[in-house]
């Protein structure tokens, strides 16, 4: 081992350490904002009080606000943001398409259509008319999730088939396919609503606005389990994803079963994204923007991009939701509108700077 090698390895270790620092910095920011999100609202609760509530102590009113209203909401933001961002990062890799994400490939619209079927046809949702924000509470999350997953997977299936059998389709073609699928499912949702009664229409419409407050602990548990399993699968494949960045032939020569990795990854991505969408409604741009922000900091190295995207997605969604809750409190703005409102300009900015991938 020469001196030269030693200094080079040190350089590399520093380089890797920097990526770890990025991860922990974003994680720290996410935790801080999450604490703020739990404490802020129409009832102001100090962070100290928040911690007391976590351990079942403190004032009863703040305990109820924290444990049964705000904490599930922030947990939903964390899980959904992380799920959408990770699935976006992995889809961008296996399809070698910088514009891929659940919402651009029609998976979200498909899942929304499925959820509408679940609510209207199978009666998975009941309507109570207390306020707009609680217009839909899903009393059978399983049937709605299953419907959302099935229809979200239809989009995935079309995208996979197109990219396999029409290899010269290119990144733009695949996204156009996503546009077509989105409008197909949006049309389907409209038709469903046309034949549904008023209360069901309003419940579906409010559902598509996106509402992080609608997810109950039981639903969050489903999402958490699915997210954890998919995260494990993605992390197990991180070297495969890195190899696939060099193109399919090179990846194969490095021992990657590219077809299987691509198909299973797309399946897992659409599962986790569709379940997330089915619980909280369509949330665009997080899955697209979060990975691209992190690519600027950690490159296309999936060892770090996957965990970093997850944390960044969670952070973005907590910020967006907290903003939506506080800006004209006590009215809560729909999260789907907020993410689109801020996500679209952010994405345009990233485009103007040049997406730092597949140039």
């Amino acid at each position: 081992m020469t001196e030269n090698n030693v200094s080079q390895l040190q350089q590399y270790n520093t380089f890797i350490r920097r990526k770890k620092i990025v991860f922990f910095a974003v994680l720290f920011a996410a935790i801080l904002i999450a604490l703020f999100a739990v404490s802020a609202g129409s009832l102001n609760i100090s962070v100290n009080e928040v911690f007391k509530s976590f351990f079942g102590k403190g004032d009863e009113m703040s305990r109820i606000a924290v444990l049964s209203i705000r904490l599930p909401r922030v947990t939903a933001a964390i899980l959904v943001g992380a799920a959408l961002a990770v699935s976006g990062a992995v889809m961008q890799c296996v399809l070698q398409n910088p514009l891929a994400s659940a919402s651009t490939l029609g998976v979200s619209q498909g899942a929304a259509f499925g959820a509408a079927i679940g609510i209207i046809v199978f009666g998975g949702g009941v309507v109570n008319s207390d306020s707009a924000a609680t217009a839909v509470s899903i009393n059978n999350p399983y049937i709605v999730s299953i419907c959302a997953f099935v229809c979200g997977s239809l989009s995935t299936l079309v995208v996979i088939l197109l990219s396999r059998f029409k290899k010269d389709l290119g990144p733009a073609g695949l996204i156009l396919a996503g546009v077509a699928l989105s409008s197909l499912f949006a049309g389907g949702s409209i038709l469903l609503q046309y034949f549904a009664d008023e209360t069901k229409i309003s419940s579906v419409v409010f559902w598509t606005f996106g509402n992080l407050g609608s997810a109950a602990w039981s639903e969050l548990l489903i999402l958490a389990v699915i997210f954890a399993v998919s995260m494990l699968y993605f992390m197990l494949n991180r070297w495969n994803y890195n190899a696939m960045e060099s193109g399919a032939d090179t990846a194969q020569s490095l021992g990657v079963n590219t077809k299987a990795v691509m198909l299973i990854s797309m399946g897992v991505c659409s599962l986790v994204a569709a379940v997330a969408v089915s619980f909280v409604g369509i949330i665009s741009f997080v899955g697209l923007v979060a990975p691209h922000i992190m690519r600027r900091f950690v490159g296309n190295d999936y060892r770090f991009l996957i965990p970093c995207s997850a944390v960044a997605g969670a952070l973005l969604l907590i910020i967006a939701d907290t903003f939506g809750r506080l800006i004209i409190a006590p009215v809560i703005l729909p999260i789907g509108a907020i993410t689109s409102f801020f996500g679209a300009p952010m994405f345009l900015y990233l485009l103007s700077r040049g997406l730092r991938t597949y140039a």
Binding site: M1, Q8, F15, S246, T250, L254, N300, D301
Partner: protein, 262 residues
Amino acid sequence: MLEVKNVSFAYSRTKRNILENISFAVKNNQCIAILGNNGAGKSTLIKCIDRICPVNKGAVLVDGKDVYNMSKNLLAQNISYVPQISASLNMTVFDLVLLGRKPYIKWDATSHDRNIVSDIIKKMKLEDFAMRYVSELSGGEAQKVLLARALAQEPKLLLLDEPTSNLDPRNQHEVLQIIKKISREHNTCLAIVIHDLNLAIRYCDHFIFLKDAKIFTSGTLEIVTPQNIEEVYGIHVNIIQHKGIPVIVPLPDKKMTEDKII
């Protein structure tokens, strides 16, 4: 030692044979040049050897073991392949070369893997670029990085698809010299698809001419004759000796001089 036995290949959609009954062998330390016109099946042949395009018939053996019976990782430990066109990569040189260790990596890269990468980067004189992004490098440097990645796999057989086509003359010679030097040190077989006949006869010791999906002829330098080149490529050439180095010189045909092209 690489043995290719009666290999045939056709794309399932067209059924037209891209390769018919190809057989040849390369010993360790030997460098074989796969020559022929565009579309003769050269790239397909090396993809068949590396199982990227699975053969319809025939067998490929490396050191007597059937490539088609190996696990994916074992295959990648035996054969490395550098394709003709590579994606522009938003990845550092060190990380890309580290990918060559992927077939050996269980959960994460060990210090052993990192030491091998560091050694190869030094051998390829890429130290100054180690922490640079591959997409920022020149064509010659990027090609060397891809070669370094292939060498980090510690293969018994190295397959290169036109490794010099994007390089300037100096880099062409430098890259081929490094490949030959390292393959001799590690006792590997080399198979190179190459268009530049002068580079081929300078650095390779065995030659295969592919024509119409078949081997037209194969053998040592003796088979690289003006007649064979005319049959395969359809051009007139002279082979002259310049300071003891054989040089292939294309000759103008009648039509060219009549039309005053040259």
